[in-house]
Amino acid sequence: MDFDRSEDQKLLAKTVADFAKKESTVERFRKLRNADGEGFERSTWKQMAELGWLSVPFAEELGGFGGSSVDVGLVLEELGKSLVPEPYLASVVLAGAAIRLAGSVEQQAELLEPLLEGDQVLALAYAERGARYATSRLSTTAEADGSGWVIRGEKVFVLAGHAAERFVVSAEVAGEPGLFVVDADAAGVERATVGLIDGRRGANLRFDGARARMRLEAAPAAEVLEHVMDLAAAAAVAEGVGVCHAMLQMTVEYLKTREQFGAKIGSFQALQHRAVDMFVEMELLRSIALEAVGRADATGEGKAARQAAISAAKLQLATGGAFIARQAIQLHGGIGVTDEHDVGLYFKRLHALMSLFGDEAFHARRYAQLQRG
């Protein structure tokens, strides 16, 4: 076994890390969160495109980097460390994967070009009220109308939905899920921006007879959606590694500097052991995250192992990751429950990642089913 990154991967991770450190500190995220607007910057999105990060998982023939989920994971891990707010997970991972897996070559070329150029933000509208994590139980419908399709229904908490130029929308057609591309400015599309726990923004969407630009049907949509959720879950865990890493680091630093009762509080054994428990959970999270991104692209015979690894990883995020987040607040004491301190921003991002792409109960159940064979 070899867990080392290749030279290319090391370089990619370092470039993202340097960018995050120099150009997108937590302070930048906080300013954008507090300001009106999209909550991120189009100029930075463009810059990310120029650096090639938006092309990572896409085929070289389409102008992509031809990378894997491992590469996507290391970008997100570094972005997570300073809470970079650009919609990488929403556009590149979620919408990008749906297009990549369900679109024909021509459709991919048309839809991905403006994304890879950093000229567009894309969003995947899959979640519905009362549908929890089952991506194939849809009340949104698509109806054939002449040469095209007409979409009706509502989608909730669409990540980056407030900013996206185009949506990939899941909708039921003849009892099966289908995937459709709808332009945000099409007639019959209504969007309302919603605030999210992590200080980012999304949208609730209503499609009232909106015409789809195209249907993506190079692969069965149900299977594509299932795989996209896995890819997103693996990516969320990878970002979670960065988020938890940052919380663990700032907590250990705080224990080493904060003085009470005439001593560094890190000299108290009870708190040392707590920090060790956090560290242990961190290492477990890192390990299982590697398996998750390593198996995320598998299909066919590799699918069961993919799902098991991703569920195990998402479970570790929901247990060990949550432990790290909650203890990070606890060990910071009063300052930890203020909005002014950064630790709370990470805490909230982690909880958003926990609620997305299957929660603890979802993944425990799926893992149990997979074990049953």
Partner: protein
């Protein structure tokens, strides 16, 4: 042993319950039903309604305008108001400084402050913690210098909860640097309108402005505002901390959150299309917490029964704080999990999530403070280890 409340106590419970149902104005009742956040105006409105019934200060003795409740009646009263989702009254005057003034104040101080606290005419806040004095409270440095007929106060207090709405602040200040650090602390009552006092609110993790920093720059405080003896403030502080701990058993609040959990679990549909409440996993998750809450409730009742016999709450009250605060958080966490994607919602306009889910996220985030404030849970464990288990010193 008798597990039942007496008939008189049960009657009292029903009386409180029906009075609340009648007395609560509709706009407050609407919010109460869904566990929504109350603004300070609503809190004070409810304060005045309770005061009209003589119930604003259930734990005050009759001579100071209290209703003369027994310890058990007080608990029943608290449980019923919390279960009804009534606004929690600001505790700083009624629960904290009021009883201290009754016990340590001069007749003039009693006459000056107590009636206005009771009537809700003056709102108080607490000035204890400082940036470098949290768990180690005795390390506080805000100083009060003797200047004849007044003190000159300079320093910074933090976590002065709701100071932006308060008229007065009670403060622990340093009046001497001699001897043990606990021995040079005094207890001062300070009018927030005093020149040189400035209050700056800041946001919590719940993105609600609950806390403040309060700054003192040479604020002149008359000597008659010293409560208790000079350099005797630590005794008052300790008396108050024990009190705070029984307050945060939060039995009623957790019961309400778990009732909210049941509503969320009825409204949210699982991947199989059925309400979560019909799913053994989620039903079991809720039941486990309800059962633990029952064990906690009985622990509170045992402490109450002891108090009823005239015993003062001892270090055992640390258990109530420890378990109570953790239950608050676990109930919030469960609600967040039950909500699925709705747990992403943050301070959105009505309609984005059902009304009973509206405040869950901010409450979950804000309540991370419960294991930190009123003596962090680490400090409570130190107290239990030392005073109950008699553990040797390191």
């Amino acid at each position: 042993m008798d597990l039942a409340f007496t008939a008189a106590e049960e009657e009292f419970r029903l009386k409180v319950r029906s009075w609340i149902a009648e007395a609560m104005p509709p706009h407050i009742a609407d919010k109460a039903r869904d566990g929504r956040h109350f603004g300070m105006e609503e809190v004070m409105e409810w304060h005045r309604i309770l005061d009209g019934q003589g119930w604003a200060a259930p734990h005050w003795p009759e001579e100071h305008g209290g209703p003369g409740f027994t310890a058990t009646q007080r608990f029943i009263f608290q449980e019923e108001t919390e279960a009804a989702g009534a606004p929690g009254l600001s505790p700083f005057g009624l629960v904290m400084v009021g009883p201290l003034i009754q016990r340590f104040g001069t007749d003039a101080q009693k006459a000056r402050f107590l009636p206005k606290i009771l009537a809700g005419e003056e709102v108080w806040c607490q000035g204890y913690s400082e940036p470098n004095a949290g768990s180690d409270l005795a390390a506080l440095r805000t100083e009060a210098i003797d200047a004849g007929d007044h003190f000159v106060v300079t320093g910074q207090k933090t976590w002065t909860t709701y100071a932006q709405y308060a008229d007065w602040i009670f403060c622990l200040v340093r009046t001497s640097t001699e001897g043990k650090k606990q021995a040079g602390i005094s207890f001062l009552l300070i009018d927030l309108k005093t020149p040189g006092v400035e209050v700056k609110p800041f946001q919590t993790l719940g993105n609600t402005p609950a806390f403040c920093d309060t700054y003192f720059e040479g604020a002149k405080v008359p000597k008659e505002n010293l409560l208790g003896p000079l350099n005797g403030g630590w005794t008052l502080a300790k008396a108050l901390l024990g009190h705070e701990r029984t307050l945060v058993s939060a039995v009623g609040a957790t019961a309400r959150t778990l009732a909210t959990a049941r509503r969320i679990a009825s409204g949210q549909v699982g991947d199989d299309g059925r309400p979560l409440l019909e799913d053994a996993h989620w039903e079991g998750r809720i039941a486990r917490l309800e059962a633990r809450l029952q064990a906690h409730r009985m622990t509170v009742y045992r402490a109450l029964a002891e108090q009823q016999k005239g015993k003062h709450p001892g270090p055992e009250s640390s258990i109530l704080k420890l378990v109570g605060s953790e239950l608050v958080q676990r109930a919030d966490e469960l609600c967040m999990e039950l909500m699925g994607h709705d747990a992403l919602s943050w301070h959105n306009p009505e309609g984005v999530v059902p009304p009973y889910e509206q405040n869950v996220g901010p409450q979950f985030a804000y309540n991370r403070a419960t294991t930190i404030y009123a003596g962090s849970n680490e400090i409570q464990k130190n107290i239990i280890a030392k005073l109950i288990l008699g553990m040797p010193k390191a």
